[in-house]
Symmetry: D2
Subunit: 418 residues, 4 copies
């Protein structure tokens, strides 16, 4: 049962580590919110904000305490923290989360390693660097028009080395990154394989374009990263199964990394709700008190109902993901559990996304014409919140519906795909 905390409001952390993380975020929230408006207007990467949260230890959150982090293990709390960041600036939240999700994964790998099978030393090292605030990882996996198991970025052998060539998009936080986690098509003697690679910024041939120009999330630095003949040592590419073959065991991990991400959209909705209420309270004394109108009341009540659905769906999904994944070694869960977690993530994600879009739209209407003026925070939220359509926790994004339908009709053994 979730502990006490303020009832009927935004999510609250459930572990002491999560509480510390949220407290650290609260201290910089004002700065982030101010920067958000400026970055949005200028279409500029939120560099100062990312620097600030890194100084505050937010990016080190998942590193063990001994390494300088907060030792956050709970995905529930990672979600809560992401939502708090998003309340201040959704661009920062999504940028930071990309790094946090990877660092959480390394920590889980180390923490949950089965007896006698310690995690790879690299992950241990990365965590230490993250804890020292010296490593910011950019998840640069996405390519235009393809899937994670059909990457076109290549890794080819040259003597004992790998040569990486390709172009990645939507690489949030890339302008601040010291490392780039990516996935490739590795050409091996056994044919093409999927492979994962960590590429350091200082390798020759890495280009961060910082060219993100989106309708929203304008400060997220989600531009392109290009790898041109980047040379890496033999052990830099980890194999992940045959190229082009979708991995049904991977759902558990995808659900783990996607569920807290949904909190970005909840955070946007929380701020939109707050702005709507503030605008009405500000108008109470004036000539244009809108609170007497049944129309205003209907919108306010609708906001509350939508928030209840969004908060509830996300709390449930985060609780369940914690209960199953947080203390289990990666890829150790039954396939059906991974599917069920992914289905919950997708369904909860749609519930959150719809509610968030609607709450922002309602908040603008409650606030009235001033919310339509250039530079008003609600105008930014209106654009930011729609990123959810394209960052849905299932790829390709438009097939969430197909996946849920297939899952609902799955065979008892977890076979999908009628």
């Amino acid at each position: 049962m979730t502990a006490t905390g303020p009832v009927n409001g935004r999510l609250v952390p459930v572990t002491p580590a999560g509480e510390k993380l949220c407290a650290a975020i609260d201290e910089v929230a004002g700065f982030l919110a101010d920067e958000a408006t400026r970055n949005d207007a200028a279409g500029r990467y939120a560099r100062a904000s990312i620097d600030r949260i890194n100084e505050a230890g937010v990016l080190a959150a998942c590193a063990p305490v001994d390494d300088g982090g907060f030792g956050v293990e709970s995905l529930y709390d990672l979600g809560v923290a992401t939502s708090r960041l998003a309340e201040a600036d959704a661009s920062v939240a999504i940028a930071a989360y990309m790094h946090l999700a990877l660092s959480w994964y390394y920590a889980r790998t180390v923490r949950c390693a089965p007896p006698g099978q310690p995690a790879e030393p690299r992950q241990r090292e990365w965590l230490r660097a993250i804890g020292r605030r010296q490593m910011v990882v950019c998840s640069s996996v996405a390519e235009p028009g393809t899937n994670a198991w059909q990457m076109t970025t290549t890794a080819t052998r040259s003597g004992g080395d790998w040569i990486i060539n390709g172009r990645k998009v939507l690489a949030s936080i890339s302008p601040s990154a010291t490392h780039f986690y990516t996935r490739v098509r590795a050409e091996t003697a056994d044919g093409p394989m999927q492979g994962s690679v960590m590429i350091p910024l200082d390798a020759a041939g890495v280009e961060v374009r910082d060219d993100w120009d989106g309708l929203g999330l304008r400060g997220s630095g989600s531009g392109e990263v290009v790898f041109s003949g980047v040379v890496l040592p033999e052990d830099a590419v980890s194999p992940r199964g045959r190229w082009g073959q979708w991995d049904r065991r991977g759902m558990e991990g995808r659900a783990a990394s996607s569920t807290p991400l949904l909190a970005v959209y909840l955070g946007i909705a929380e701020t939109a709700r707050t702005a709507a209420l503030a605008s009405l309270r500000a108008g109470l004394a004036g000539a244009r008190d809108r609170t007497h109108s049944a129309g205003t009341k209907a919108m306010l009540a609708e906001v509350e109902v939508r928030m209840a659905a969004a908060r509830g769906a996300l709390r449930s999904a985060l609780s369940d993901i914690d209960a199953h994944v947080t203390h289990a070694a990666p890829r150790s869960l039954p396939v059906e559990v991974g599917q069920a977690l992914m289905a919950q993530c997708v369904a909860a994600g749609m519930a959150v996304e719809r509610a968030a879009v609607e709450v922002v739209d309602l908040a603008m209407q409650i606030c009235g014409g001033r919310s339509y003026a250039g530079g008003h925070p609600l105008g930014r939220l209106c654009r930011d919140v729609r990123a959810g359509w394209f960052m849905r926790p299932h790829a390709p994004a438009e097939e969430w519906l197909d996946f849920l339908a297939e899952w609902a009709l799955r065979e008892p053994d977890g076979t999908l795909g009628r």
Copy 2:
């Protein structure tokens, strides 16, 4: 954090007592479901089902273990149990819950009595009788067209006695009740007061009409109870404040009794979802495999999204009510907390109710024309689920929207009602 259990599915209990209660319900669920169809067709009270769950100890659930009950304290688990009953028969669920909510309240009063202020002996007695399965309480408060604080049923003095006269409606479970909890306008020397009374079935002048004829919940026994000159001793009427005066401290109690009730509608939705999937699976081999249709898939996915919102909103509301109320003495919480819990209850209630109505409607469409035939279970669910509109956890029912809007705009000290 909610414990493990099957992910992405119906709610599961969080305490051992709740688990025992749910196990007891599972054993009789088949019988209840069979009876549900028959009672609905005949427009008949579910007497056999109520007898059966009473034998199984379900109605004794909130009595302490020493008294023969399951010792269920958690409102979360009371909600889960109610949802399980509703999966089998929503009529039984609503009838049973009316009794369970009162018995839970007596148990809380006894359990949470502050040191040195023991609860009233009567409540202790009632719990013992309930634990022995000898007392079934009917909440017979509602009167047509008025509110709980403006009752027209009267209690007048006659010598040392009270004489009760009035007509109550929507008295679910009344045909099985041994006692009737009711509220009256007590005419006292200080003017009219609100009063609460427990009236035994065997008192002269008690008439149970068993005349419920609704569009749905046809087995719930929600007919009229008439009190004609019922004579009760002086201490039978407990005062509850001035007549006609609404009690802002009462919200906490109302939220506590209303939140688990929402589970009735979730249970209906769970069964509708199950029926829709079963009908598709049954058709897979035949000429009319509907699963290839994008229309069918869209409806299936929509069901999952709605269920995620409904389950999530209810889980959150139940968690919060447990966190604040279950271990607190009645009427001991700050007014603002009671309001916040009530607002969460109303908002979550709307989220659940809307989702449940929609899921049943979708299930009928997924199932196809056969669901429109007389006697099909989905036809019953379609009628049952709409009871939610008239049993909303805020009176009068149509004012839920006004309440939420007022709450959203409340003053910091909890003053409502702009």
Copy 3:
């Protein structure tokens, strides 16, 4: 442009013939409405109502004036009339419309026959019989689990005769029918063909079961009709293309017969709206004036918005169908026009159906708990309106979505079906 008439209200006829028909319906509307409640409670066919509208000439509406009919040619007006019938009793509307659609088709065939190619004499005869109020046709085409081009009812040759065997369902108005229009699999020397047949009630082997027992439309007489070795002369079966082959030219005719049918659901919504307003007006003087509540206002306004969408979508669809079909010979339109009309019919149908379902649901909530009592008219509308899900103007019903998507993506030459 639609003529004057009362603005912002229910649909009004656009031809004098339609006005006469509506006037005739208005005269019997009170009787129909009274009967509706009784028939629904008893689960009884609306025989008296059908008799009454036949006496009033309603069933003769499409016969030429010289034959005793009203000479209604406009499908717009046929829709308006159907909506008026449905305002009084949706069961009668749907039953009557099944006959009216066929009689309208015969009249169109006769009226629009190209010069030198007169219509078949039979259709002329039928119109005369209909005009004399001596012929009521039941469209008994539907079979469980199959499509119109894959009928399992057979017509086999025996000497010079046809022998018909099969079972038809959802044969609305069948208990009053003198004739049964049906479709069969005709076994010919060239293999199985689709065929259409008119079977008189007095042929040996015709059994009308009058066994409809649905959740709603309980007075519509939509039970089974069984043909057991019915012997018909050689010319009784008209060929309609190869069995099992879907006819893309048929869309125009299906759109023509389906579009006015949508008015059944609009009529239900109109009556639900009227009932909701009446219940509020009735409560104005009493203690329970609900009109001050923002919740009530929000529901009222929502009803108006939904009605605007439903009325508008239906008016447009009816106008367009009249503009293209009413004065054209059957099967003379380009395939693309037929598809476009069908797509409009389906899209408008969904808009009307959704609005009607929502308006009835809102009307119950506006009206309050009394609408949930057994026998309340809104309870009947709540069940009747859901028939729309299973009588959608595209078969199979669940594939409306697939059809609209295919149509939207059609090739310029009208090729569907990616």
Copy 4:
């Protein structure tokens, strides 16, 4: 009945004058669409586009043919033309419509003047100037935070003159205007009166700020206009009733000017729909064919259903407004008819607005991530379409719901406002 034209598509004109106007728009549509993207990116007034449509005679549309106009009388056709403009650029559509609505009103006044009561000579003159393309009128009425009957812009007497002082907002098309139609508080010997005034651009003290910086409609020139001591002759101010007093007869005129304006949002939806289909067709050959996905199909079908509702509601509202208003002298209709037309306008407006917002949102999702890139037309439509919330045909905008509820519960004599 609306004439033939292509079925199931965008609206088509119903008069020859309307057809000519639409043909003129079609010729410049490509130019407007190209400019739209540029103006949006630059946040720049669509001066070149307004110049172009003025050259093409679009702004002269409502002037009589003899004066050089198209002689458009039908509000239906004015709506169709507005929707065509909006398909190319919603900013231009709203800017142009502000001028068109006023010129239509002058033409109606002249055309419908009762025998023996000719219209004012000024309106005749204005029409001639408009026909010669020498007069562009900006409707500069709105002030922040007040209503049309409580203007704070003042007209005070000074000798025989009026002196105008005040600030107007949302003055679309103002950077191209030669004249400003405005409303003022006229200080007279009888106290404050409402007054209407036409102010020429070349009067001393008129300042057009061209400072519109909105989330959307960025090319509409909807900035501020300031009047500082503008001197006008005695007859320049026309009285319109007591200041602060709402005029129930004014609804008819408001409905007339507001209903075609709704077509802006329909036009946006048409273009969004077209863009979504184009993006799918473009992807058919490639690796990312999205059309096989049930999710994509569900969105496509939803677009069609929403369009059917939007087109239908608008067609009906435009038909009715033409049937009642177009050939009637201003302020000659019964109050109840004006109210009913206004209620239809508001309800249809909500139906159109909701559908348009939803269609744009769906179109972005159908199109996929590229629609989220800066400069994509759908991103502009997403911002433009939300202007509807703040330009609703009822002031104050948030009270549309209250108005509809009051109207639904009106007294038979048209008294509103319970």
